[in-house]
Symmetry: C2
Subunit: 110 residues, 2 copies
């Protein structure tokens, strides 16, 4: 059994993408956001699988969107981070912050 509720690296990234995208978080968008921010080019399968697992744990919720008025295509599924997810995310960040504390000369300088 999982010890508690710590998040994996990619889970954190996915959750953060949801926060950034707000009400427009669905597969392709999430993937693009991650690629843009981190340069990491993950597959859609990776994203859906991860989100599915997080949903099962109550960290995110999802809802089917209305049929797209665009060209064609299946209805989107929008994801949203839930309170437990935000808590876990914040906690993960704090853990890393404590481990990094006092180690960096110049923080995020690129």
């Amino acid at each position: 059994m999982g010890k508690s509720d710590s998040l994996g690296e990619f889970e954190q990234v996915a959750l953060l993408a949801l926060i950034r995208l707000g009400s427009n978080a669905y597969g392709a968008r999430i993937r693009a956001e991650i690629a843009e921010r981190t340069g990491r080019d993950v597959s859609l399968g990776a994203i859906y699988t991860t989100l599915e697992r997080l949903e099962r744990k109550g960290f995110v919720s999802s809802a089917r969107g209305a049929p797209t008025p665009e060209r064609g295509g299946r209805a989107k599924r929008f994801y949203k981070i839930e309170a437990p997810g935000e808590r876990a995310l914040r906690k993960s960040r704090e853990t890393m912050d404590r481990m990094w504390e006092g180690l960096v000369p110049a923080p995020s300088a690129g």
Copy 2:
């Protein structure tokens, strides 16, 4: 094949513990450092396994220490983070920083 060289959450924690402990990083100490900093109580087995994998990838190196002058016990094995490990660690942090960018009201104030 592993896509590149991203580190898992615990791998990052372990690597950071090595940096913090400097020349005194071995099993029990590493475990204590992690527990103290993060409140997370992992087993020694978890630590050795993780370090072993990181060593195989060239992220850390290790060397047997001199016989203990204490009561009894096997010789310690000291671990040290290597340049590739530091690079990967820094990169992981930067990735998370970019994902968190602009999201927190008050970051680490410690």
